[in-house]
Amino acid sequence: MNTKAFQKIYTKIENITKATCTIHAEGVANEEMAYVDGRPAQVVKIKGQQVTLQVFPGTAGIKTNSEVVFTGKAPTIKLSDDLRGRFFNAYGDPIDGGAPVDGEEVEIGGPSVNPVRREQPSQFIPTGIAGIDLNNTLVTGQKIPFFADPDQPFNQVMADVALRAEADMIILGGMGMSNDDYLYYKARFDNAGALDRIISFINTTDDAPVERLLVPDMALTTAEYFAVGKKMKVLVLLTDVTLYADALAIVSNRMDQIPSKDSMPGSLYSDLAKIYEKAVQFPDGGSITIIAVTTLSGGDITHAIPDNTGYITEGQLYLRRDTDIGKVIVDPFRSLSRLKQLVIGKVTREDHPQVMNTCVRLYADAANAKTKQENGFDLTDYDERCISYASDYARELLAIDIDVNATKMLDTAWDILGKYFKPEEVGMKQSLMDTYWKGN
């Protein structure tokens, strides 16, 4: 850390906790960056002359006479086209062995978009995965997480989505990512030859947890640079937001704040919203779409992290192992894309909304029939047909290894419906039945 002129330097630390230290200082600004013994830190509290700093890498080894240097500015990142294909840590320093990137220096975590300047999202993002495109259609400017247990293949699915979705730029924000997963993403992106449209900010489990707090802002400020300045369609991948929230809890705990539900800070909703609401469709074509991962513990979505996330994001995607077909599927019951109404039946074929609903309704009937079967009851003919339908539906449409276009998905759905049901059992609008019905 080279000091420059006009920087305030102090050498008397009064108070040190695991994550923070307090010094006597003057004229320091809220959220200003500083270096404590060369480690990045940020002002989180000012009380008269007492300034509390959150030291990102932790305070182990810091002495009461360590040097504290204030930079006079909030955390920043240098933005330019040279970021493409590069891997950075939470501070924006390269971790791929390359040279530091020079560019326009911008404060991270900048202001919000004026809601009236937002455009209504209207561009369909095809992923080829029918469980997503048919039932949970994604739209540019959307924010949506995978709710997944740690053992589920969410990283693979995310990488698939990232590489298949037609985005101009992909920004990966890794928080508490295992080194293996980091290398997995790196290899996938490399093999796909897509590295020049990917930028990564990675905090691995080797790094200090509090550093993670910078990752979303780094990734999203970079996304804004490309989406606003270069009118690009930017896709931001954030994984794992649960670990980000855990870091928030650590900090709030160290600052003696009263925890609310599940030991999370009371401001968790606002903290998460600040990140997710960066997803936007700009009027002049650029957009930021966020796909995140929130890992659950034992599938519990009532925990404060997934619960608050659900209220913020525009839907959620669940993966589930379907034992009937022996594959992982996108769960049609619990998954939801709230923005799908903006494109289905408009950008996609007119029958999309009703086909989607009918298929899911019949899949629910099949689930009821299965419960009956498990309880040892006789099944009606309708029950039997529902069960056969469910297995076809799961295999040909819900499995995550499906890769087809939206029109083909609808045709497949009509095929399956026609195979097992009578027209009056599907309960769709007559005009659609007249055009698309394939059964008897």
Binding site: N30, I46, G48, K261, T302, A304
Partner: protein, 610 residues
């Protein structure tokens, strides 16, 4: 000389100031950060140390920044030009802000400064006036917008002078009045009013008695809300709270809609901006936007402004109510408002209540809901605010402080059910868990029976009974199996399904089905209840499901057709033919015998229960 202060501490958006003069609780001040003025509200005073919540990001704020106090509370500017506007929580006109991103410290004028309004006086010199008296009107788009005497006038006053009819700016002097004490007050078209204080310029607030038509069947038919009533919709995420709020904003029969997006998704608000100017209100032929005011304080906007946003919305609604209008206020979601209260209480290091919410949460919520209502104004006309708040219970669990506090305050409870949402039965309002206290008001029952048909209330009770018995039958079928229960169980379950499929479920995205006028609801309810009243001839349970699915399908098709169009009538004939296939016409004697049997069974059941 206004009071000044200096920043001495900063934690997130709570700032402490040392002040040099008198300050008031909830007083507004501006903190000067290198030329940028940050608005803040006083929340706690200890000697000369004052804690304020800043309505903006506090990044860069440092010890020594100067603050200037305004000697007023947080207030809104009320006057013509609010319709079609999109405000933030502090009533800044978002359209007037430049750039794609919000700029800290930018505050915009909420009305139209340069627009001239065609003023028509309604009183003359010498007339006696009181708070809220309509002294004139201007045409705000389609609305005769009443220019009123400020609501804080005590007692009566006399008009000293009033301008002649003509075009004026909203800041121009319209009249001068002299109070009983001889004080002269100048009136413009604008009224400034502190948002946390109710506008009480009315004679009295009677109990609501009229049906407030929303066009949503499961509300109007099953659990109606009264005009001037309050209700809330708790539901886990994904249950359809926002879709329901939007459906209400589109279809409810109100003169004015005030929508508060309080800490919710920006894209949902964008949907309204884009749709409402296009959608036509069938009752008036004008676009929906022309009757709408939007307060958009989305979740990424500062927390303190979120807290203010619900009050801003309520105050604007009260202003229009004072003009004798029927206002619908929608707030999505009040849980975010409660969370804003929690964040602040937490920063002030107050002793927390349950789930770290402030202790007085329930009082604050009750107080807010109480501001809605049906009022009779001093001039004899009536106005109303019907208020529906969305609640987002943590973890979907209704046993949490915000839901519990709201349940005490609101009269209608519309519980959005995860199970219904999962099986795509929308709107997912649970028919049996939900309730409307108004349905039990004798005046509401009388109103419905007079307006619709004499046995209406009775019929709806019967409908709920069938739904309940259908649910019980379903449980039995699930436990015992299809063939181990009497065929009657399958029939009653399927009758409940007919009600569910044709009355409760409604397609919010279909141009026809999305809005169902009460007359149509009445017509369909009679058809459905007629079917439910029949006995049917089935040889075994196997044929029941299929038969009723056919019936449901025909009624669904009817719901998609224009009311009483040829196609609709054709489908109705088809339906009657279908019903005739299986129904049994009982003779009067058989019916009587059946009833006696049922009665006997019930008594037997009661004896067992005892």
């Amino acid at each position: 000389m206004s009071t000044k202060g200096k920043v001495v501490g900063v934690v997130a958006n709570m700032v402490t100031l040392k002040v040099d003069g008198p300050v008031g609780q909830n007083e507004i001040c501006y903190i000067d950060l290198k030329g940028v003025k940050l608005m803040a509200e006083v929340i706690k005073i200890t000697g000369d140390t004052v804690a304020v919540q800043v309505f903006e990001s506090t990044r860069g704020l440092y010890v020594g920044c100067e603050a200037t106090f305004e000697d007023r509370m947080l207030e809104v500017t009320l006057g013509p030009g609010m319709l079609t506007k999109i405000y933030d929580g502090l009533q800044n006109d978002l359209e007037k802000m430049e750039g794609v991103f919000l700029t800290r410290g930018e505050y915009t004028y909420p009305l139209n400064a340069d627009q001239k309004w065609e003023f028509k006086p309604l009183v003359a010199g010498g007339d006696e006036v009181e708070a809220g008296t309509w002294i004139g009107e201007v045409l705000e788009g389609w609305l005769p917008h009443r220019i009123m005497v400020p609501f804080d006038l005590k007692g009566t006053a006399k008009i000293t002078s009033i301008v002649a009819a003509g075009a004026y700016l909203s800041k121009d002097t319209m009249a001068v009045i002299t109070t009983a004490d001889g004080e002269e007050i100048t009136l413009t078209m604008e009224i400034h009013w502190p948002v946390k204080k109710e506008i009480r310029a009315y004679k009295h607030k009677p109990r609501p008695f009229k049906l407030f038509e929303t066009g949503v069947r499961t509300l109007d038919t099953l659990n109606p809300i009264a005009e001037g009533g309050t209700g809330f919709t708790p539901g886990p995420f994904g249950a359809g709270k926002t879709v329901l709020q939007h459906a209400l904003a589109k279809n409810a029969e109100a003169d004015i809609i005030v929508m508060v997006a309080c800490g919710e998704r920006a894209n949902e608000v964008v949907e309204i901006f884009h749709e409402f100017p296009e959608l036509i209100d069938p009752r008036t032929g004008r676009t929906l936007m022309e009757r709408t005011v939007i307060i958009a304080n989305t979740s990424n906007m500062p927390v303190a402004a979120r807290e203010a946003s619900v009050y801003t919305g309520m105050t604007i609604a009260e202003y229009y109510r004072s003009m004798g209008l029927k206002v619908l206020l929608l707030a999505d979601s009040t849980s975010r408002w409660a969370q804003a209260l929690r964040e602040m209480s937490n920063r002030m290091e107050e002793l927390p209540g349950q789930d770290a919410f402030p202790m007085d949460l329930s009082a604050i919520i009750a107080n807010f809901y109480a501001r809605a209502g049906f009022v009779e104004l001093n001039n004899g006309s009536t106005g109303s605010i019907t208020f529906l708040g969305a609640v987002s219970p943590a973890g979907g669990n209704l046993k949490e402080p915000v839901t519990e506090a709201t349940q005490k305050a609101a009269r209608c409870f519309y519980s959005l059910d995860q199970g219904r949402a999962d099986s795509k039965r929308y709107p997912s309002i649970h028919p049996l868990d939900s309730y409307s206290k108004y349905a039990e008001y004798p005046e509401v029952m009388e109103y419905l029976n007079t307006r619709l048909q004499p046995n209406w209330s009775e019929m709806i009770v019967e409908m709920k009974d069938i739904l309940l018995r259908g649910k019980e039958a379903k449980d039995q079928i699930n436990i015992l199996g299809d063939d181990s229960v009497p065929v009657e169980y399958h029939v009653i379950y399927n009758k409940a399904e007919v009600i569910d499929s044709s009355i409760l479920q409604q397609d919010a995205f279909d141009s026809i089905d999305s809005s169902c006028p009460i007359e149509r609801q009445q017509y369909m309810t009679n058809i459905v209840m007629d079917i439910c009243g029949h006995s049917f001839d089935f040889s075994g349970y196997e044929e029941i499901g299929g038969y009723f699915r056919k019936i449901n399908n025909v009624i669904r098709q009817m719901n998609y057709q224009l009311f009483q169009s040829d196609k609709f009538n054709e489908l109705e004939k088809e339906l009657q033919a279908l019903v005739a296939e299986k129904k049994i016409d009982l003779t009067a004697a058989e019916k009587r015998a059946d009833e006696l049997l049922e009665l006997a069974e019930e008594r037997a059941g009661e004896r067992v229960a005892q």
